[in-house]
């Protein structure tokens, strides 16, 4: 055939017919579209395709229920031991906690402040405790004021002591994103 896959004998192409599907359906067809049998045939096929596509999209085929478990088992097997932070103890031997666990506790504490979402949390052991760098996203209404950040500082410091048993030698809060909340 001389034509490409998507060119009609009338020299319009399938892409054009596709783009005009709704317009023609709404009664806005031009002279050519109303009379050309090739365009009409293409239009009908494309409508059938569009309908079938909607069915496909709605199908929402789901994987087997154990896929999630298989993925997470493999992921957990690879969780790096990572760096550990020493905790005080009078007993012989040592007690340590993973930086990752500490970071999760501190992020959770920051999250409890309205309009704040913790993103990254870097924990660095130093003599006597840890230095923490906490990256946050704040909602628009918090972007200007420092009250929310003061609350974050308070709750994170308290959580480090109460939930872990660590003193924060330093706490740096970095706001690197702002998000809108419903209604803003």
């Amino acid at each position: 055939m001389a034509m490409t896959d998507y060119e009609l004998p009338c020299e319009r192409d399938v892409d054009q017919v596709w783009a005009r599907l709704d317009a023609v359906g709404a009664g806005l067809a031009d002279e050519h579209e109303l009379t050309c049998p090739h365009c009409r045939a293409a239009r009908e096929s494309l409508l059938a395709l569009r309908e079938a596509t909607s069915e496909l999209v709605a199908e929402a085929d789901a994987p087997s229920p154990d896929l999630f478990g298989r993925i997470m088992s493999a992921v957990r097997a690879e969780v790096r031991r990572g760096s550990m932070v020493r905790l005080p103890t009078p007993e012989p031997g040592y007690v340590e906690v993973s930086e990752q666990a500490v970071a999760a506790v501190l992020r959770y504490a920051a999250d409890t402040v309205d309009g704040v979402r913790a993103r990254r949390c870097r924990v660095r052991p130093v003599p006597g405790g840890v230095e923490v760098e906490l990256t946050l996203a704040v909602s628009l209404r918090n972007a200007a004021g420092g009250e929310a950040l003061a609350q974050v500082r308070e709750r994170v410091t308290a959580a480090a002591a109460a939930r872990v048993g660590l003193t924060l030698a330093k706490l740096d809060l970095i706001v690197d994103d702002v998000y809108g909340e419903p209604g803003e």
Partner: protein, 120 residues
């Protein structure tokens, strides 16, 4: 000093594991990447009737030059202070091993791999 028997490392590990898991604030033992599964042999089990053979994943026992050291990998609950739970495990393991085997543990070390948040 005469000894009638040698307490096998797996036995110590099992006792230590039970002590750790029974400590308030401990959610579970977590072997992590370096965890060793200590074998619980039939012979050792028979020597200690009444002891449930508990899985000792996450517990490592080293006996060398008469020194016994125990290391435990575990997960604590967020409701309790991690450091306090760690110390409690150190004491519980020492006490339990002494009670059950007569052995003195020289050092108990605890690695808290994760802190589990409160159930939603």
């Amino acid at each position: 000093m005469s000894v009638d028997y040698v307490v096998a490392d797996p036995v110590i590990a099992s006792v230590a594991a039970r002590a750790a898991i029974s400590t308030p604030g401990v959610v579970r033992l977590e072997p992590g990447l370096r965890g060793l599964v200590t074998a619980w042999t039939r012979a050792a089990r028979q020597r200690w009737k009444g002891l449930d053979p508990a899985p000792a994943d996450g517990v490592r026992v080293r006996t060398a030059d008469g020194r016994v050291t125990v290391h435990v990998d575990l997960v604590t609950a967020a409701a309790d202070q991690a450091a306090a739970v760690g110390r409690a495990v150190q004491r519980a393991v020492t006490r339990f091993v002494a009670e059950q085997t007569g052995l003195v543990v020289d050092e108990v070390s605890v690695s808290i791999m994760d802190i589990e948040p409160v159930a939603r």
